[in-house]
Protein backbone atom coordinates (compact mmCIF):
# COMPACT_ATOMS: atom_id res chain seq x y z
CA UNK A 1 0.00 0.00 0.00
CA UNK A 2 2.68 2.43 1.00
CA UNK A 3 4.82 1.54 -1.99
CA UNK A 4 1.79 2.20 -4.13
CA UNK A 5 1.19 5.68 -2.76
CA UNK A 6 4.95 6.41 -2.95
CA UNK A 7 4.83 5.50 -6.57
CA UNK A 8 1.93 7.85 -7.18
CA UNK A 9 3.49 10.70 -5.27
CA UNK A 10 6.67 10.32 -7.30
CA UNK A 11 4.60 10.29 -10.44
CA UNK A 12 2.67 13.32 -9.30
CA UNK A 13 5.84 15.20 -8.46
CA UNK A 14 7.36 14.25 -11.80
CA UNK A 15 4.21 15.37 -13.58
CA UNK A 16 4.18 18.65 -11.70
CA UNK A 17 7.83 19.16 -12.56
CA UNK A 18 7.12 18.54 -16.21
CA UNK A 19 4.22 20.98 -16.25
CA UNK A 20 6.40 23.61 -14.57
CA UNK A 21 9.20 23.00 -17.04
CA UNK A 22 6.85 23.29 -19.99
CA UNK A 23 5.33 26.40 -18.51
CA UNK A 24 8.75 27.96 -18.12
CA UNK A 25 9.70 26.98 -21.65
CA UNK A 26 6.46 28.55 -22.86
CA UNK A 27 7.26 31.77 -21.04
CA UNK A 28 10.78 31.75 -22.35
CA UNK A 29 9.61 31.70 -25.95
CA UNK A 30 7.09 34.54 -25.61
CA UNK A 31 9.24 37.62 -25.05
CA UNK A 32 8.26 40.32 -22.58
CA UNK A 33 9.84 43.26 -24.43
CA UNK A 34 6.93 45.04 -26.17
CA UNK A 35 8.61 45.23 -29.58
CA UNK A 36 9.77 41.61 -29.46
CA UNK A 37 6.39 40.55 -28.16
CA UNK A 38 4.62 42.23 -31.06
CA UNK A 39 6.94 40.52 -33.53
CA UNK A 40 6.50 37.16 -31.83
CA UNK A 41 2.74 37.44 -32.04
CA UNK A 42 2.74 38.71 -35.60
CA UNK A 43 4.87 35.76 -36.69
CA UNK A 44 2.43 33.40 -34.95
CA UNK A 45 5.03 30.66 -35.22
CA UNK A 46 5.56 29.28 -31.70
CA UNK A 47 7.19 26.09 -32.97
CA UNK A 48 9.67 27.97 -35.14
CA UNK A 49 12.81 25.97 -34.20
CA UNK A 50 11.08 22.70 -35.07
CA UNK A 51 9.49 24.21 -38.17
CA UNK A 52 12.87 25.43 -39.36
CA UNK A 53 14.41 21.99 -38.91
CA UNK A 54 11.60 20.47 -41.00
CA UNK A 55 12.00 23.25 -43.57
CA UNK A 56 15.68 22.37 -43.89
CA UNK A 57 14.74 18.74 -44.36
CA UNK A 58 12.20 19.62 -47.06
CA UNK A 59 14.72 21.81 -48.84
CA UNK A 60 17.33 19.04 -48.79
CA UNK A 61 14.78 16.57 -50.10
CA UNK A 62 13.91 19.01 -52.84
CA UNK A 63 17.52 19.51 -53.83
CA UNK A 64 18.40 15.83 -53.92
CA UNK A 65 15.23 14.25 -55.27
CA UNK A 66 12.39 16.51 -56.38
CA UNK A 67 14.29 19.11 -58.38
CA UNK A 68 16.44 16.66 -60.39
CA UNK A 69 13.37 14.64 -61.33
CA UNK A 70 11.47 17.81 -62.20
CA UNK A 71 14.30 18.98 -64.44
CA UNK A 72 14.43 15.65 -66.21
CA UNK A 73 10.65 15.67 -66.57
CA UNK A 74 10.73 19.11 -68.13
CA UNK A 75 13.67 18.24 -70.37
CA UNK A 76 12.23 14.95 -71.62
CA UNK A 77 8.60 15.83 -72.17
CA UNK A 78 7.22 18.45 -74.55
CA UNK A 79 5.01 21.20 -73.11
CA UNK A 80 1.94 19.64 -74.65
CA UNK A 81 2.47 16.40 -72.76
CA UNK A 82 3.17 18.16 -69.48
CA UNK A 83 0.05 20.27 -69.89
CA UNK A 84 -1.96 17.12 -70.49
CA UNK A 85 -0.54 15.56 -67.35
CA UNK A 86 -1.59 18.60 -65.37
CA UNK A 87 -5.03 18.73 -66.96
CA UNK A 88 -5.60 15.07 -66.22
CA UNK A 89 -4.68 15.45 -62.55
CA UNK A 90 -6.76 18.60 -62.19
CA UNK A 91 -9.74 16.91 -63.75
CA UNK A 92 -9.57 14.13 -61.17
CA UNK A 93 -9.69 16.72 -58.41
CA UNK A 94 -13.16 17.77 -59.51
CA UNK A 95 -15.15 15.96 -56.78
CA UNK A 96 -13.13 17.53 -53.95
CA UNK A 97 -13.21 21.01 -55.50
CA UNK A 98 -16.91 20.75 -56.28
CA UNK A 99 -17.75 19.60 -52.74
CA UNK A 100 -15.84 22.54 -51.28
CA UNK A 101 -17.37 25.04 -53.73
CA UNK A 102 -20.78 23.85 -52.53
CA UNK A 103 -19.89 23.82 -48.84
CA UNK A 104 -18.79 27.44 -49.21
CA UNK A 105 -22.08 28.30 -50.88
CA UNK A 106 -20.27 29.24 -54.09
CA UNK A 107 -22.87 27.94 -56.51
CA UNK A 108 -21.51 29.86 -59.46
CA UNK A 109 -18.03 28.46 -58.98
CA UNK A 110 -19.52 25.01 -58.40
CA UNK A 111 -21.18 25.39 -61.80
CA UNK A 112 -17.82 26.31 -63.33
CA UNK A 113 -16.18 23.27 -61.74
CA UNK A 114 -18.93 21.00 -63.03
CA UNK A 115 -18.91 22.61 -66.48
CA UNK A 116 -15.15 22.26 -66.71
CA UNK A 117 -15.31 18.61 -65.75
CA UNK A 118 -17.96 17.74 -68.32
CA UNK A 119 -16.34 19.77 -71.09
CA UNK A 120 -12.82 18.58 -70.46
CA UNK A 121 -13.82 14.96 -69.98
CA UNK A 122 -16.14 14.71 -72.97
CA UNK A 123 -14.38 17.02 -75.43
CA UNK A 124 -10.83 16.89 -74.10
CA UNK A 125 -10.66 13.30 -72.93
CA UNK A 126 -9.48 14.62 -69.57
CA UNK A 127 -6.19 15.60 -71.23
CA UNK A 128 -7.03 18.95 -72.79
CA UNK A 129 -8.32 22.03 -71.03
CA UNK A 130 -11.03 22.85 -73.54
CA UNK A 131 -13.05 24.75 -70.94
CA UNK A 132 -10.05 26.89 -69.98
CA UNK A 133 -9.56 27.84 -73.62
CA UNK A 134 -13.24 28.77 -73.75
CA UNK A 135 -12.82 31.16 -70.83
CA UNK A 136 -13.71 29.06 -67.78
CA UNK A 137 -10.43 29.00 -65.88
CA UNK A 138 -9.45 26.32 -63.39
CA UNK A 139 -9.73 27.15 -59.71
CA UNK A 140 -8.64 25.29 -56.58
CA UNK A 141 -10.73 24.79 -53.51
CA UNK A 142 -9.99 22.74 -50.42
CA UNK A 143 -11.56 22.05 -47.07
CA UNK A 144 -9.02 24.26 -45.30
CA UNK A 145 -10.47 27.17 -47.27
CA UNK A 146 -13.98 25.99 -46.49
CA UNK A 147 -13.16 26.02 -42.77
CA UNK A 148 -11.84 29.57 -43.17
CA UNK A 149 -15.05 30.63 -44.88
CA UNK A 150 -16.95 29.06 -41.99
CA UNK A 151 -15.00 31.27 -39.59
CA UNK A 152 -12.43 28.83 -38.20
CA UNK A 153 -9.19 30.56 -37.17
CA UNK A 154 -6.02 29.61 -39.02
CA UNK A 155 -3.93 28.86 -35.95
CA UNK A 156 -0.13 28.98 -35.79
CA UNK A 157 2.20 28.32 -38.68
CA UNK A 158 3.37 24.75 -39.04
CA UNK A 159 5.86 23.24 -41.44
CA UNK A 160 5.00 19.70 -42.42
CA UNK A 161 7.58 17.19 -43.59
CA UNK A 162 7.14 16.56 -47.36
CA UNK A 163 4.01 18.72 -47.59
CA UNK A 164 5.51 22.10 -46.74
CA UNK A 165 3.94 25.17 -45.11
CA UNK A 166 0.62 24.65 -43.37
CA UNK A 167 -1.55 25.47 -40.37
CA UNK A 168 -3.81 23.38 -38.13
CA UNK A 169 -6.76 24.58 -40.20
CA UNK A 170 -5.13 23.72 -43.52
CA UNK A 171 -3.95 20.37 -42.20
CA UNK A 172 -7.42 19.45 -40.96
CA UNK A 173 -8.71 20.42 -44.39
CA UNK A 174 -6.09 18.30 -46.09
CA UNK A 175 -7.22 15.24 -44.13
CA UNK A 176 -10.90 15.84 -44.81
CA UNK A 177 -10.21 16.34 -48.52
CA UNK A 178 -8.40 13.01 -48.61
CA UNK A 179 -11.56 11.41 -47.26
CA UNK A 180 -13.73 13.27 -49.77
CA UNK A 181 -11.76 12.01 -52.75
CA UNK A 182 -13.71 9.18 -54.43
CA UNK A 183 -10.70 8.11 -56.50
CA UNK A 184 -8.87 7.33 -53.31
CA UNK A 185 -11.73 5.09 -52.20
CA UNK A 186 -11.78 3.47 -55.61
CA UNK A 187 -8.09 2.71 -55.09
CA UNK A 188 -8.82 0.97 -51.82
CA UNK A 189 -11.18 -1.39 -53.60
CA UNK A 190 -9.02 -2.25 -56.56
CA UNK A 191 -6.27 -4.78 -57.16
CA UNK A 192 -5.00 -3.14 -60.33
CA UNK A 193 -1.84 -1.28 -59.29
CA UNK A 194 -2.53 1.86 -61.36
CA UNK A 195 -5.83 2.26 -59.60
CA UNK A 196 -4.79 0.93 -56.21
CA UNK A 197 -1.97 3.45 -55.95
CA UNK A 198 -3.60 6.25 -57.92
CA UNK A 199 -3.60 8.67 -55.00
CA UNK A 200 0.12 8.34 -54.41
CA UNK A 201 0.88 8.44 -58.13
CA UNK A 202 -1.21 11.58 -58.62
CA UNK A 203 0.41 13.29 -55.65
CA UNK A 204 3.90 12.43 -56.85
CA UNK A 205 3.26 13.51 -60.42
CA UNK A 206 1.65 16.72 -59.29
CA UNK A 207 4.66 17.64 -57.17
CA UNK A 208 7.04 16.97 -60.05
CA UNK A 209 4.86 18.79 -62.57
CA UNK A 210 4.41 21.93 -60.50
CA UNK A 211 8.07 21.92 -59.51
CA UNK A 212 9.08 21.71 -63.18
CA UNK A 213 7.08 24.85 -63.86
CA UNK A 214 8.65 26.85 -61.08
CA UNK A 215 12.22 26.00 -60.34
CA UNK A 216 13.84 29.05 -61.85
CA UNK A 217 11.44 31.37 -60.03
CA UNK A 218 11.99 29.55 -56.78
CA UNK A 219 15.72 29.73 -57.21
CA UNK A 220 15.75 33.49 -57.72
CA UNK A 221 13.42 33.86 -54.77
CA UNK A 222 15.80 31.92 -52.57
CA UNK A 223 18.82 33.77 -53.88
CA UNK A 224 17.24 37.14 -53.25
CA UNK A 225 16.00 36.50 -49.75
CA UNK A 226 18.06 37.20 -46.66
CA UNK A 227 15.79 34.87 -44.71
CA UNK A 228 14.17 32.30 -46.94
CA UNK A 229 12.25 30.68 -44.09
CA UNK A 230 10.52 33.94 -43.18
CA UNK A 231 9.91 34.79 -46.84
CA UNK A 232 8.23 31.44 -47.46
CA UNK A 233 6.09 31.84 -44.35
CA UNK A 234 4.95 35.26 -45.48
CA UNK A 235 4.22 34.16 -49.05
CA UNK A 236 2.35 31.09 -47.87
CA UNK A 237 0.05 33.09 -45.62
CA UNK A 238 -0.64 35.82 -48.14
CA UNK A 239 -1.32 33.27 -50.85
CA UNK A 240 -3.64 31.27 -48.60
CA UNK A 241 -5.52 34.41 -47.67
CA UNK A 242 -5.94 35.25 -51.34
CA UNK A 243 -7.18 31.74 -52.13
CA UNK A 244 -9.69 31.88 -49.30
CA UNK A 245 -11.10 35.09 -50.73
CA UNK A 246 -11.04 33.46 -54.16
CA UNK A 247 -8.69 36.16 -55.34
CA UNK A 248 -11.26 38.87 -54.77
CA UNK A 249 -9.55 42.17 -54.16
CA UNK A 250 -10.65 43.00 -50.65
CA UNK A 251 -10.38 46.64 -49.63
CA UNK A 252 -10.53 45.69 -45.97
CA UNK A 253 -7.17 44.00 -46.36
CA UNK A 254 -5.43 47.21 -47.30
CA UNK A 255 -5.52 48.99 -43.94
CA UNK A 256 -5.05 45.71 -42.09
CA UNK A 257 -1.83 45.00 -43.96
CA UNK A 258 -0.56 48.00 -42.08
CA UNK A 259 -0.45 50.92 -44.46
CA UNK A 260 0.72 53.99 -42.67
CA UNK A 261 0.80 52.17 -39.38
CA UNK A 262 4.55 52.19 -39.36
CA UNK A 263 4.98 55.55 -41.00
CA UNK A 264 7.51 57.83 -39.36
CA UNK A 265 4.73 60.21 -38.30
CA UNK A 266 3.39 57.58 -35.95
CA UNK A 267 6.72 56.50 -34.59
CA UNK A 268 6.57 55.39 -31.02
CA UNK A 269 2.80 55.39 -30.90
CA UNK A 270 1.83 52.09 -29.36
CA UNK A 271 -0.46 50.16 -31.63
CA UNK A 272 -3.77 48.89 -30.38
CA UNK A 273 -3.16 45.44 -29.04
CA UNK A 274 -5.71 42.80 -29.69
CA UNK A 275 -5.08 39.94 -27.32
CA UNK A 276 -4.68 36.74 -29.24
CA UNK A 277 -5.20 33.35 -27.59
CA UNK A 278 -1.44 32.90 -27.31
CA UNK A 279 -1.09 36.24 -25.55
CA UNK A 280 -3.44 35.11 -22.84
CA UNK A 281 -1.44 32.06 -21.88
Amino acid sequence: MSTGSDFFSVLRRAGLGLILALGLAGCATAPTDPVEREIYEEANDPAQPLNEAIFEFNMALDKVIVRPIAKAYEFLLPDLVRDSVRNFIRNLKTPVILANDLMQGETERAGETMGRFLTNTLLGGGLFDVAGAAGIPYHEEDFGQTLAVWGVEEGPYIMLPFLGPSSPRALAGFIVDAGLDPFRWWGYHSDRPWIEYNTAIRAGVEVIDSRSRNYSQLESLEENSLDFYATVRSLYRQQRESMIRNGVDNDESIPSIGYDENSPAEDGVPQAEIPSPSALN
Binding site: V35, A43, L163, D177, R213, I254, I257, Y259, S263
Partner: protein
Protein backbone atom coordinates in the same frame (compact mmCIF):
# COMPACT_ATOMS: atom_id res chain seq x y z
CA UNK B 1 -1.46 21.32 -52.69
CA UNK B 2 0.38 23.47 -50.17
CA UNK B 3 3.40 23.28 -52.34
CA UNK B 4 1.46 24.33 -55.41
CA UNK B 5 0.04 27.44 -53.85
CA UNK B 6 3.53 28.35 -52.80
CA UNK B 7 4.76 27.79 -56.33
CA UNK B 8 2.18 30.06 -57.86
CA UNK B 9 3.15 32.71 -55.36
CA UNK B 10 6.72 32.51 -56.43
CA UNK B 11 5.72 32.83 -60.05
CA UNK B 12 3.83 35.97 -59.10
CA UNK B 13 6.78 37.37 -57.26
CA UNK B 14 9.03 36.89 -60.24
CA UNK B 15 6.58 38.71 -62.42
CA UNK B 16 6.59 41.50 -59.94
CA UNK B 17 10.33 41.46 -60.23
CA UNK B 18 10.14 41.69 -63.98
CA UNK B 19 7.44 44.26 -64.30
CA UNK B 20 6.54 45.61 -60.94
CA UNK B 21 9.24 48.14 -60.60
CA UNK B 22 8.82 50.03 -63.81
CA UNK B 23 8.96 53.68 -62.92
CA UNK B 24 8.46 57.00 -64.67
CA UNK B 25 11.01 59.09 -66.45
CA UNK B 26 9.08 62.31 -66.56
CA UNK B 27 9.62 64.64 -63.65
CA UNK B 28 6.15 66.09 -64.26
CA UNK B 29 4.24 63.42 -62.40
CA UNK B 30 0.77 63.12 -63.76
CA UNK B 31 -2.10 64.07 -61.57
CA UNK B 32 -3.88 60.89 -62.31
CA UNK B 33 -2.47 57.86 -60.50
CA UNK B 34 -3.52 55.51 -63.28
CA UNK B 35 -1.75 57.54 -65.94
CA UNK B 36 1.25 57.74 -63.62
CA UNK B 37 1.51 53.96 -63.44
CA UNK B 38 0.85 53.42 -67.13
CA UNK B 39 3.45 56.01 -67.99
CA UNK B 40 6.06 54.59 -65.68
CA UNK B 41 5.56 51.05 -66.90
CA UNK B 42 5.96 52.13 -70.50
CA UNK B 43 8.98 54.26 -69.70
CA UNK B 44 10.71 51.55 -67.72
CA UNK B 45 10.19 48.99 -70.43
CA UNK B 46 11.68 51.34 -73.02
CA UNK B 47 14.58 52.55 -70.91
CA UNK B 48 15.65 49.33 -69.24
CA UNK B 49 15.12 46.47 -71.64
CA UNK B 50 17.65 47.69 -74.22
CA UNK B 51 20.28 44.96 -74.56
CA UNK B 52 22.89 47.35 -75.88
CA UNK B 53 23.36 49.41 -72.74
CA UNK B 54 25.82 48.26 -70.09
CA UNK B 55 24.63 46.79 -66.82
CA UNK B 56 26.01 49.79 -64.98
CA UNK B 57 24.03 52.12 -67.23
CA UNK B 58 20.91 50.03 -66.70
CA UNK B 59 21.37 50.18 -62.93
CA UNK B 60 21.80 53.97 -63.08
CA UNK B 61 18.66 54.42 -65.13
CA UNK B 62 16.75 52.13 -62.80
CA UNK B 63 17.95 54.06 -59.77
CA UNK B 64 16.75 57.34 -61.27
CA UNK B 65 13.33 55.87 -61.93
CA UNK B 66 13.17 54.31 -58.49
CA UNK B 67 14.03 57.51 -56.67
CA UNK B 68 11.45 59.38 -58.63
CA UNK B 69 8.62 56.87 -58.56
CA UNK B 70 8.84 55.26 -55.17
CA UNK B 71 8.51 56.77 -51.72
CA UNK B 72 11.56 54.94 -50.41
CA UNK B 73 11.61 56.51 -46.92
CA UNK B 74 8.02 55.39 -46.27
CA UNK B 75 8.66 51.92 -47.68
CA UNK B 76 11.83 51.68 -45.58
CA UNK B 77 10.05 52.49 -42.34
CA UNK B 78 7.25 50.04 -43.11
CA UNK B 79 9.47 47.10 -43.95
CA UNK B 80 11.17 47.36 -40.57
CA UNK B 81 7.89 46.51 -38.85
CA UNK B 82 7.87 47.17 -35.12
CA UNK B 83 11.67 47.48 -35.17
CA UNK B 84 11.26 50.89 -36.79
CA UNK B 85 10.67 52.17 -33.27
CA UNK B 86 14.07 50.91 -32.25
CA UNK B 87 16.07 52.26 -35.18
CA UNK B 88 18.16 55.37 -34.52
CA UNK B 89 18.07 58.25 -37.01
CA UNK B 90 21.53 57.25 -38.11
CA UNK B 91 20.49 53.64 -38.70
CA UNK B 92 17.34 54.73 -40.51
CA UNK B 93 19.33 56.94 -42.83
CA UNK B 94 21.72 54.17 -43.73
CA UNK B 95 18.88 51.68 -44.11
CA UNK B 96 17.09 53.88 -46.65
CA UNK B 97 20.16 53.99 -48.85
CA UNK B 98 20.96 50.29 -48.38
CA UNK B 99 17.38 49.35 -49.27
CA UNK B 100 17.45 51.51 -52.38
CA UNK B 101 20.76 49.97 -53.42
CA UNK B 102 19.41 46.48 -52.73
CA UNK B 103 16.33 47.04 -54.90
CA UNK B 104 18.47 48.40 -57.74
CA UNK B 105 20.93 45.51 -57.52
CA UNK B 106 18.24 42.88 -57.35
CA UNK B 107 15.87 44.07 -60.03
CA UNK B 108 17.62 46.24 -62.63
CA UNK B 109 19.36 43.27 -64.25
CA UNK B 110 16.06 41.46 -64.73
CA UNK B 111 14.92 43.99 -67.29
CA UNK B 112 17.82 43.04 -69.55
CA UNK B 113 16.52 41.64 -72.80
CA UNK B 114 13.03 41.47 -71.37
CA UNK B 115 10.31 41.54 -73.94
CA UNK B 116 6.79 40.47 -74.42
CA UNK B 117 3.81 41.06 -72.27
CA UNK B 118 1.43 43.93 -72.67
CA UNK B 119 0.09 45.90 -69.73
CA UNK B 120 -3.51 47.01 -69.48
CA UNK B 121 -4.86 49.47 -66.98
CA UNK B 122 -7.85 47.87 -65.26
CA UNK B 123 -8.98 50.45 -62.72
CA UNK B 124 -7.95 53.19 -60.35
CA UNK B 125 -9.73 53.69 -57.09
CA UNK B 126 -9.19 55.67 -53.92
CA UNK B 127 -8.24 53.93 -50.69
CA UNK B 128 -7.91 55.19 -47.15
CA UNK B 129 -6.35 58.63 -46.77
CA UNK B 130 -4.76 59.94 -49.94
CA UNK B 131 -3.86 56.50 -51.21
CA UNK B 132 -4.89 55.34 -54.65
CA UNK B 133 -4.90 51.80 -55.90
CA UNK B 134 -4.06 51.26 -59.54
CA UNK B 135 -4.75 47.78 -60.88
CA UNK B 136 -3.09 46.65 -64.08
CA UNK B 137 -3.40 43.36 -65.84
CA UNK B 138 -0.34 41.86 -67.45
CA UNK B 139 -1.06 39.65 -70.43
CA UNK B 140 1.48 36.89 -70.56
CA UNK B 141 3.00 35.47 -73.68
CA UNK B 142 3.36 31.90 -72.43
CA UNK B 143 -0.37 31.18 -72.48
CA UNK B 144 -0.76 31.53 -68.72
CA UNK B 145 -3.69 33.54 -67.39
CA UNK B 146 -3.04 37.27 -67.00
CA UNK B 147 -1.47 38.48 -63.76
CA UNK B 148 -3.04 41.26 -61.71
CA UNK B 149 -0.69 43.81 -60.24
CA UNK B 150 -1.97 46.44 -57.84
CA UNK B 151 0.06 49.54 -57.16
CA UNK B 152 -0.57 51.52 -54.01
CA UNK B 153 0.27 55.14 -54.69
CA UNK B 154 0.15 58.21 -52.50
CA UNK B 155 1.18 61.83 -52.84
CA UNK B 156 4.44 63.24 -51.59
CA UNK B 157 4.64 67.00 -52.08
CA UNK B 158 1.92 66.74 -54.70
CA UNK B 159 3.69 63.99 -56.65
CA UNK B 160 2.53 60.41 -57.03
CA UNK B 161 4.81 57.92 -55.32
CA UNK B 162 4.50 54.17 -54.98
CA UNK B 163 4.35 52.73 -51.47
CA UNK B 164 3.52 49.11 -52.25
CA UNK B 165 3.21 46.70 -55.14
CA UNK B 166 0.82 43.79 -54.79
CA UNK B 167 1.13 40.93 -57.24
CA UNK B 168 -1.66 38.39 -57.16
CA UNK B 169 -2.50 39.59 -53.64
CA UNK B 170 1.09 39.22 -52.45
CA UNK B 171 2.36 42.49 -51.06
CA UNK B 172 5.97 43.42 -51.61
CA UNK B 173 6.03 45.41 -48.37
CA UNK B 174 4.49 42.65 -46.27
CA UNK B 175 6.86 40.02 -47.65
CA UNK B 176 9.93 42.23 -47.32
CA UNK B 177 8.87 43.23 -43.81
CA UNK B 178 8.66 39.65 -42.58
CA UNK B 179 12.04 38.88 -44.12
CA UNK B 180 13.77 41.91 -42.58
CA UNK B 181 12.09 41.55 -39.20
CA UNK B 182 13.22 37.95 -39.04
CA UNK B 183 16.81 38.92 -39.88
CA UNK B 184 16.83 41.52 -37.09
CA UNK B 185 15.24 39.11 -34.65
CA UNK B 186 17.90 36.50 -35.36
CA UNK B 187 20.49 39.22 -34.87
CA UNK B 188 19.34 39.71 -31.28
CA UNK B 189 16.85 42.47 -32.07
CA UNK B 190 19.52 44.85 -33.36
CA UNK B 191 18.75 46.87 -36.48
CA UNK B 192 22.49 46.93 -37.13
CA UNK B 193 22.41 43.18 -37.86
CA UNK B 194 20.15 43.81 -40.84
CA UNK B 195 22.30 46.71 -42.02
CA UNK B 196 25.32 44.43 -41.88
CA UNK B 197 23.63 41.74 -43.94
CA UNK B 198 22.41 44.25 -46.50
CA UNK B 199 25.87 45.79 -46.87
CA UNK B 200 27.29 42.35 -47.48
CA UNK B 201 24.55 41.32 -49.88
CA UNK B 202 24.76 44.55 -51.88
CA UNK B 203 28.51 44.11 -52.26
CA UNK B 204 27.98 40.54 -53.45
CA UNK B 205 25.34 41.57 -55.94
CA UNK B 206 27.59 44.36 -57.22
CA UNK B 207 30.41 41.96 -58.01
CA UNK B 208 28.08 39.39 -59.57
CA UNK B 209 26.54 41.81 -62.01
CA UNK B 210 29.65 43.48 -63.38
CA UNK B 211 29.84 43.87 -67.10
Amino acid sequence: MQRRSFMSVSAGVVLFVLLGLGLPFSSHAQEDAGAFIQNLADTALTALTDEKISNAERADRFRDLLQEGMDIPTVASRVLGPYVRRATDEEMKEFVSLLEENIVRKYAIMFKGYSGESINLVETKPLRGDMQQVTVSIQRTDGQPPVDVRWIVHKVDGQNKIIDIIVERVSMVTTQKEEFVSVIRRGGGKVESLLGELRERNAELATNVKD
